[in-house]
């Protein structure tokens, strides 16, 4: 037996449908029981690496493999995907979509069923796994009834049941809110300690994964491994941002202040970070220099709700309970909270997709309630999370024109308005392209464009950057900021703390159908009570402030964000 669970030897891979290779000269060894993070921007080949490990390549995705991969000392070319699945257990990105069984118990046992394990043995194994993962009370529940964290535990359980030697997690944080994500990382850590299995986490959110230590980070870029070293070593170099992976925020802040990061400072986690007094003083001094008093925002109310309440059919509890709030002209607001807190319901009621039971909505002082869903769209535009759910035409031009044409606008005017909207969104040169030729981010732009063409004054976006890496995230968000600067008020529903911190002027926090906080995002993310109730996570800048003895953490965070907005933004614009 080999001491390595995985051994890549000069491996290269090219997908059949693509002209260029996706992976080049991969040399990588992973010891039994080791914990590894594979990071890199979208398209760097990290998911392809994962598919090679679990056997989806060549089973589902065909292509040319050069070099070799040994799994447990055996050449993977001689193994079927089923052989591999007894060694490598894969948890895919979207735990919702990979839920196969009708109930939790069936999902846990799915692999066992396929291995023809007899019923009494299956029952026993399900019981063991459910005990380990604390799922016993949910065994007969359907996937739809579970929370995000429970779903994640079920998908882990589904591979745990087969007793594997290596767990492969493909972007485990993509669909989770910050606190659940934190728990997922803790769960993975426990799992590794309990089972002694090796763990590979493929993820671009480095800071969140480093909540629990990993042995090594493999950094990838354009199909090559550019770094393979301990987190402390890697974080003391500038390599991460060169590769389009976001480094932990506390390190960014230190770098702005001119503190040089060295591996002996143990930069991989804020809890272990060692700062000298000079470093601390330097940070404090820098923050004092960049501090600016904020100019107050406009207070001209654009959208206002008074005592808004709503209950879904067949539900007892109110989804919205007496919501009174106001959005001012030109603001960029984040609405945050756990799943089921009421944030999506709130935007649906505003758009007229659901009708309020009580309360009123005012737009520029006029009662909004009498208007239909279609009429409200002229004032408030709603952009869904997944662009594929909104696109119904083949060509970009037609997709953007659809809303106007359905309103019977004369064709000449349609052309004029569509052209204008396409130019704003930077899609004009592509106007005659089929939508299928676009990337995810470009599709997102098309959907935003198709709403903008109706000239709403407010845009509501549901998770505008879900599943995007740092570079694409920045592109989408900078685009939204430009729109905002052109006078469009923007409301974003999000789980993403970076997003709210960096781009929202203000955060409205929902919990249990009520608003529990309405203040700047820096204030929210440094308030542990609100953070806890809304299932968020304190920003690491808060911990950094504590570490350096800065009392007013909220101001510190705000100053950091303001500095970054003014000096560093827009680096990604091509």
């Amino acid at each position: 037996m080999s001491e390595y669970i995985l051994e890549f030897k000069n491996l290269g891979f090219k997908y059949r449908a693509q002209a260029k290779s996706t992976l080049y000269n991969i040399d990588l060894k992973i010891k039994k029981g080791e914990k590894l993070l594979v990071a890199g921007p979208s398209g760097c080949g990290k998911s392809t690496l994962g598919s090679l490990i679990n056997g989806l390549i060549p089973s589902s995705y065909k292509g040319d493999i050069t070099g070799s991969l040994l799994i447990n000392g055996k050449d993977s070319k001689e193994m079927s995907i089923f052989d591999i699945s007894h060694i490598v257990g894969t948890v895919l990105q979207d735990s919702d979509a990979q839920f196969v069984g009708m109930t939790v118990a069936e999902d846990l046992t799915f692999a066992l069923e396929n291995d023809c394990v007899f019923l009494p043995d299956m029952r026993k194994r399900v019981d063991e796994v459910a005990t380990t993962l604390n799922l016993k009370d949910f065994l007969l529940h359907a996937p739809g009834e579970l929370s995000g964290g429970q779903k994640q535990r079920v998908s882990v359980g589904g591979v745990l049941a087969s007793d594997v030697d290596l767990f492969l997690f493909d972007e485990p944080l993509a669909n989770l809110d910050p606190r659940t994500g934190k728990q997922a990382i803790e769960l993975i850590d426990e799992l590794q300690k309990k089972t002694g299995a090796a763990v590979i986490i493929i993820e671009h959110r480095l800071e969140d994964v480093l909540h629990r230590s990993v042995d090594r980070i493999v950094l990838m870029q354009e199909g090559h491994i550019v770094a393979d070293e301990s987190p402390d070593e890697l974080l003391s170099k500038g390599l991460l941002s060169e590769c389009g992976v976001r480094e932990p925020l506390y390190l960014t802040a230190l770098k702005y202040a001119g503190v040089s990061i060295e591996s002996k400072m143990r930069p991989s986690s804020i809890e272990n970070l060692v700062l000298s007094d000079t470093d601390k003083a330097q940070l404090k001094k820098f923050m004092k220099e960049v501090h600016k008093d904020k100019k107050p925002l406009s207070k001209e109310k654009l959208l206002e709700t008074k005592g808004l309440s709503f209950t879904y059919e067949k539900m007892k509890k109110r989804a919205l309970d007496n919501i009174s709030t106001a959005i001012s002209k030109g603001e960029m607001v984040a609405i945050v909270g756990t799943n089921g807190a009421g944030k999506s319901t709130f935007s649906k009621v505003i758009c007229g997709m659901e009708n309020e039971d009580e309360g009123q909505i005012f737009f520029e002082g006029n009662d909004f309630s009498a208007l239909s869903i279609k009429e409200r769209a002229a004032y408030v535009g709603y952009v869904m999370q997944n662009p594929n759910q909104m696109i119904s035409k083949v060509m970009i031009m037609d997709e953007v024109a659809m809303g106007l044409r359905l309103r019977g606008v004369p064709e000449e005017e349609v052309q004029e308005k569509v052209t204008k909207a396409l130019k704003i969104c930077g899609l004009y040169t592509m106007r005659n392209w089929p939508i299928s030729a676009l990337s995810y981010g470009q599709k997102k732009r098309v959907t935003i464009c198709s709403i903008l063409v109706l000239e709403p004054k407010v845009l509501i976006l549901d998770e505008p950057t879900a599943g995007q890496d740092y570079r694409h995230y920045t592109k989408i968000m900078e685009f939204l900021r430009q729109l905002n600067q052109q006078g469009i008020t923007i409301i974003m529903i999000t789980h993403d703390m970076h997003l709210m911190l960096e781009y929202a002027d203000r955060g409205i926090v929902f919990s249990g159908g009520k608003i529990i906080a309405d203040k700047t995002c820096a204030e929210i993310l440094t308030d542990s009570e609100i953070v806890d109730r809304a299932s968020l996570k304190e920003t690491s800048l808060y911990d950094l402030a504590n570490l350096c003895g800065i009392e007013d953490a909220a101001t510190f965070v705000q100053d950091f964000i303001d500095y970054e907005r003014e000096n560093v933004r827009g680096l990604w614009d091509e």
């Binding site: 196969v100 069923e113 739809g144 869903i373 279609k374 119904s392 359905l406």
Partner: protein, 275 residues
């Protein structure tokens, strides 16, 4: 939201039968109802079918949507039968009894009305049983039982999987339709039928496309967990046959026997009161 095909979790003697029993019963029952046009047997089966609802603890409102759908379909098809072949019954029963003193091609005859009564009864004999089956059979167990009666498990499992995803797809449809309405697609009764059909298609496209993405994910997830590895698989939800299961199958088999015997006695599939 409407429950189109939904298993309803309750405790009842019918829920406790194995999926295989219910499937075999359904096949026997439908075969019996299909074979015969004998009014007496069909009437008995209709009453029996409806009487089983309280036994399975299924309420009328659980199946309203499906029921209305079938009734509309039934009304449509009976009307069409009459329009296209208003004398079909006369041919079947070999006599013509004009009613209400009317004459002409479309004049009602006792034979035609009786034939169509039987036609309707056939629906009433089958539909309640089918609805009951759908409401009381856990899809996973259904898949297990399909496999048990010889259907390959990959086919059986895809049936279960389709049922598993119906609520998700309904939810997605609802969301997409809301967003499309905001863009100006009219789905309410204000719009004409043609434009509503057109609108529905512009919801279906995104629905299908986003479902395709999911299919790829689920296929991979299944393969990664050994689906398709062996020729056989075991089923966690499988239940053991009990005495009551055999009894039910025997009763349904007897119905089929009765149906065939009646056909033999009547000399045709029809019971003829006009002789």
């Amino acid at each position: 939201m409407n429950n189109l095909f939904n298993y309803i979790e309750r405790e009842s003697p019918i829920h406790e039968l194995t999926g295989a029993t219910k499937l075999v019963c359904l096949l026997l029952w439908s075969l019996a109802a299909m074979t015969t046009y004998d009014t007496r047997l069909l009437a008995v089966m209709s009453v029996l079918g409806v009487a089983l609802f309280p036994v399975g603890r299924i309420k009328l409102k659980d199946v309203t949507f499906m029921l209305v759908f079938t009734l509309v379909y039934l009304a449509l098809s009976t009307t069409l039968v009459y329009l296209f072949s208003p004398r079909h019954g006369c041919g079947v029963y070999g006599s013509t009894t004009l009613l209400f003193g009317l004459s002409g091609y479309f004049a009602p005859t006792a034979e035609q009305l009786f034939f169509q009564l039987n036609y309707i009864l056939k629906y009433f004999a089958t539909i309640p049983f089918v609805l009951l089956f759908v409401c009381t059979t856990n899809p996973s167990e259904f898949a297990a039982s399909l496999n048990k009666i010889g259907v390959p498990y990959s086919v059986a499992y895809s049936v279960a999987l389709a049922l598993r995803y119906i609520p998700d797809i309904q939810k997605q449809y609802h969301e997409i339709s809301q967003a499309s309405q905001a863009r100006g697609i009219e789905l309410s009764k204000k719009a004409s039928l043609v434009s509503r059909l057109k609108s529905a298609s512009s919801i279906l496209i995104p629905l299908v496309l986003s479902s395709m993405d999911r299919i790829e994910v689920i296929a991979n997830a299944m393969e990664l967990r050994c689906f398709g590895k062996n020729k056989k698989r075991t089923w966690y939800m499988e239940r053991k046959f009990r005495l009551i299961d055999y009894l039910c199958i025997v009763v349904c088999a007897l119905l089929l026997v009765a149906s065939i015997t009646l056909t033999h006695i009547n000399g045709s599939r029809f019971y003829n009161p006009f002789l």
